[in-house]
């Protein structure tokens, strides 16, 4: 066991953990942020996706020791009042069914749009193909990413 400082959503958490403990469990059980989900534990499904240094990563496969000190963003860090354009787009297109995978989907989409504000279908495929949705919301995810892009562009031009 060792002590680590986690910077999650601009807040600092000091946690006692086994260095090998995946970041996922540190976020969920030690920091108490349960929006990030366990799906497979082997970086196959994307349900646990968070941002580390602005990049989307699979928190189930990153040891807490590696994540310590880095800037981490979870679904709770986008906004708690659903004002983030990706959240707004997800609501507009009524994407979630069971909703379990959507935190990861949204984090991946957010990272994509940051890098590629006007993604093509191919860009979307590349960014999202690591994410499983058993409810099959893929057609709506594709639509919502395009909607989010529009919302972001509108906001940018309004400024």
């Amino acid at each position: 066991m060792a002590s680590y400082t986690l910077k999650i959503n601009s807040k600092t958490y000091t946690v006692e953990a086994d260095p090998k403990m995946p970041l996922l469990w540190a976020i969920r059980d030690l920091a108490g942020l349960t929006g990030t989900k366990y799906g497979c534990g082997i970086a196959q499904c994307g349900a646990c996706t968070v941002h580390m240094g602005g990049q989307p990563v699979r928190s189930c496969s990153i040891p807490v020791s590696v994540a310590a000190g880095k800037d981490l963003t979870t679904i709770e860090g986008l906004s708690t009042d659903n004002t983030h354009p990706v959240q707004q787009a997800w609501i507009k297109e009524q994407v979630p069914q069971c909703g379990y995978c959507q935190s990861g989907q949204i984090m991946a989409a957010t990272a994509l749009l940051k890098k590629t504000p006007n993604p093509t279908d191919k860009d979307i495929d590349t960014a999202m193909q690591g994410h499983i949705c058993r409810c099959g919301t893929y057609p709506r995810i594709r639509k919502a990413i395009k909607t989010a892009s529009q919302i972001m562009n509108q906001k940018a031009s309004a400024k």
Binding site: M1, A17, D18, M21, P22, W25, D29, G32, L33, T34, G35, T36, K37, Y38, G39, C40, G41, I42, Q44, C45, A47, T74, I75, E76, L78, S79, T80, D81, N82, Q87, W90, I91, Q94, V95, P96, Q97, C98, G99, Y100, C101, Q102, S103, I106, I124, D125, M128, Q129, H131, I132, C133, R134, C135, G136, T137, Y138, P139, R140, I141, R142
Partner: protein, 719 residues
């Protein structure tokens, strides 16, 4: 999202509706005796209870108790949408809570069989309209005017001539004293303000910011976490275990043998209980268990299918439904066609792995989890844990997928056993590997179909299916009883138009736990029946849509076929495109799907588009229906082309998403869903979109390539 924090104190109880509930026969199956109980309860001086479904407090706030699970299918939205329409309240003013398990109060709460809307909507409409009329009557009395001069709108009763209005909250106490009206007038569907509108789901905001509470998100003070090393062979036992290394893992508190109820047997394992999930998982890694795997068969997939195929060749099967004389009619046929179809075992693989939190406290047991049938859990656990049902409190969280798996009660039982053994609240977490390998599974099936054609029509039809019968797993089951789902998926008018037919099944008796998997037997029957229908159309030299049209006389089916033909552009298809159609019926809904395929530059087949026409009769929310059909198609695409569970040496082989692969966004075609408007009885929505897909796909591939696929799954890359 639980009822726990909602004390009775927050409710206004309205005793007068006891009679209405009884009149509509929904809450109290026992009849008058149960009504008495209700009246005693509503004498509670804290307030008055409208009924178990709707509560309006003195602030006019409406609380709706949702008795069904929310696992993605939208009952969180659809049940309140029904109630809000006739109660005349704004959905935004309504608070929705999940009911605890209580069969006496709610009737069956099982969320399965696509039954949430179709099983309850009429009663819900009447109940809501009754409440509305009583509020109107209460207002009319206060104003001393005729009730006919008043109407309800947006949580108020309004006196039309004067414009005076009362908020519902101001009326509940008076309405409580009234006798419910003997009958109420329901709205004409054309006057609906909330129903049939694509109203956004109320759970969506919670599911885009991480605040929706799923089973795994449940936390209790002092809660421990458990993972269980279960025998990978379904009927194996624990011979012994060595927990020396496990107990050295920091955080591990207990290591105990456990048994959980699985149909007519018990699944055995060893639970590692720790102060965190991670510690429990680490402890499990170094646990050494010796299994006793004697006394039962260690089967492989090959053996199972060989047996099913042998049975089909050598046995008649258990007769389910017959008409006329199949053999004699086949003799006279112009053409005879035979085909055998095969479908795989499948895992449900909900994105939220199976889990359950239990707190056994001696005189009561409380459970939280992603549970489809809370009242079933009470019923199963009562004798197993030795507590009366009312002392077992089952709280439904959001379900991260269900698909039938979470209607099964093994995991709540296991959680209860562990909590009792360690005397603490415990959350039992199934890893993805546990979830994928331990079942229950969708049963693998083999279908032997034969038919005769005469004058371009089906003159004789025979289907025999081989596979496990889910009902045969229960203790004391009659194993010579036929599979009641033998014809599930087959369109009802065929039974009229086909003069001679025979349906039978050959139950496979093996120790693999099997359970409902989205649309149950229809999910595989649909592939066989509708592939065979396509083969018959081809042999008859008919267009597959026309061939179906010819055999489906009823207007409702003709309408569906016409619509499908129109929206898919069936008649205008181009030469290098393959089109396939399939139509199935289950849970009282009819769904037709057309799949369009073409060849990529490298010559491989790709799925371009899917058109679906859903006729589910009376419906609530077209957008939820579209979403359910889209999802059903993607799930069917996975089962048709990507994943399957195989067995070897009595164990499931595929363990996680690296081998039990899932369809991805890249493989998902464009999907266009049309909902039929009619006044037929409400049918299911969550499942009926699944069964037609796989046959529509393989029929389209046949149309494009001439290659007939009769075994699922198949690799699209290899067609």
């Amino acid at each position: 999202m639980e009822t726990k924090n909602l004390t009775r104190r927050n409710f206004i109880k309205l005793s007068s509706l006891t009679g209405a509930a009884l009149t509509i026969g929904f809450y109290f199956p026992a009849g008058a005796k149960a009504a008495e109980i209700m009246k005693t309860e509503t004498a509670d001086s804290l307030g008055v209870d409208l009924n178990a479904w709707i509560s309006i407090d003195t602030n006019g706030k409406v609380t709706i108790t949702n008795h069904r699970a929310e696992m993605g299918q939208g009952s969180f939205q659809s049940v309140p949408q029904i109630i809000a329409e006739e109660l005349e309240v704004d959905l935004n003013d309504v608070r929705i809570i999940f009911a605890q398990g209580n069969n006496a109060k709610y009737g069956s709460q099982i969320t399965g069989g696509s039954s949430t809307v179709r099983g309850t909507y009429k009663k819900l409409l009447h109940l809501s309209a009754t409440a509305r009329e009583m509020l109107i009557e209460a207002a009319a009395k206060k104003w001393n005017v005729a009730a006919s001069e008043c109407y309800a709108e947006n949580g108020h009763v309004i006196h039309k001539p004067s414009g005076k209005k009362f908020h519902y909250g101001e009326l509940v106490a008076d309405a409580a004293k009234l006798t419910p009206p003997a009958s109420v007038q329901l709205k004409d569907p054309k006057d609906y303000k909330i129903l049939r509108k694509p109203v956004p789901r109320q759970d969506t905001p919670l599911k885009v910011n991480g605040t929706a509470t799923f089973g795994l998100d449940k936390k209790l003070p002092g809660m421990l976490y458990a993972v269980v090393e279960r025998n990978p062979r379904f009927q194996g036992k624990v011979k012994s275990f060595d927990d020396t290394e496990t107990k050295k893992v920091p955080g591990v508190k207990h290591v105990i043998p456990v048994k959980m109820s699985v149909f007519n047997t018990f699944r055995e394992g060893v639970a590692v209980v720790a102060d965190s999930i991670w510690s429990a998982m680490q402890g499990r890694k170094v646990l050494k268990v010796e299994w006793d795997d004697s006394g039962f068969e260690h089967f492989s997939t090959e053996q199972l299918y060989a047996r099913m195929n042998d049975d089909l060749k050598t046995k008649d099967g258990l007769s389910f439904r017959t008409k006329g004389n199949f053999a004699a009619a086949l003799e006279k046929a112009d053409k005879k066609i035979d085909a055998t179809y095969e479908t795989p075992y499948e895992s449900h693989s909900c994105m939220e792995p199976v889990n359950c939190t239990a707190h056994y406290q001696g005189d009561k047991l409380e459970i939280w989890g992603p549970i489809q049938g809370p009242d079933w859990v009470q019923g199963l656990l009562s004798p197993l844990v030795g507590l009366p049902e009312e002392k077992i409190i089952v709280n439904m969280t959001f379900l991260g997928g269900g698909f039938g798996r979470k209607a099964f009660m093994d995991y709540p039982h296991e959680a209860a056993v562990i909590s009792k053994a360690v005397n603490a609240p415990v959350q039992v977490v199934w890893t993805r590997e546990d979830d994928t390998t331990q079942g229950p599974f969708r049963p693998g099936m083999v279908y032997q179909c034969s038919a005769g054609l005469k004058d371009g029509r089906i003159s004789a039809y025979k289907a025999k299916l081989a596979g496990q019968n889910m009902d045969h797993q229960w203790p004391g089951a009659q194993k010579d009883s036929y599979n009641g789902s033998t014809t599930e998926g087959f369109l009802e008018p065929y039974f009229e138009s086909i003069p001679h037919y025979s349906f039978s099944d050959l139950p496979l008796d093996v120790p693999i736990p099997v359970m409902w998997w989205r649309s149950v037997y229809a999910s595989t029957n649909g592939f066989a029946f509708e592939s065979f229908m396509d083969e018959l159309a081809v042999q008859a030299g008919k267009d597959p849509l026309d061939f179906r049209r010819q055999h489906l006389g009823e207007e409702r089916y003709q309408h569906l076929i016409n619509r499908l033909e129109e929206v898919s552009g069936w008649k205008n298809r181009k030469k290098n495109e393959g089109y396939g159609v399939s139509i199935t019926e289950c849970f009282s809904s009819i769904v037709g799907e057309v799949v369009k395929v073409s060849k990529k530059a490298d010559g491989k087949v790709k799925v371009d588009k899917v058109w679906a026409v859903m006729d589910c009769g009376w419906y609530v929310n077209p957008d939820i229906i579209r979403a359910q059909v889209e999802g059903s198609i993607v799930m069917a695409l996975g089962a048709a082309t990507v994943h399957a569970t195989h067995f070897n040496d009595g164990k499931a082989i595929e363990q996680n998403f690296n081998t039990y692969k899932m369809p991805r966004i890249t493989e998902t075609p464009e999907i266009e869903v049309h909902v039929v408007d009619n006044e037929e009885k409400a049918g299911g929505v969550g499942e009926p979109g699944l069964p037609p897909f796989s046959a529509a796909l393989t029929n389209a591939i046949f149309d494009l390539t001439g290659k007939r696929i009769r075994k699922l799954p198949f690799n699209l890359e290899e067609v």
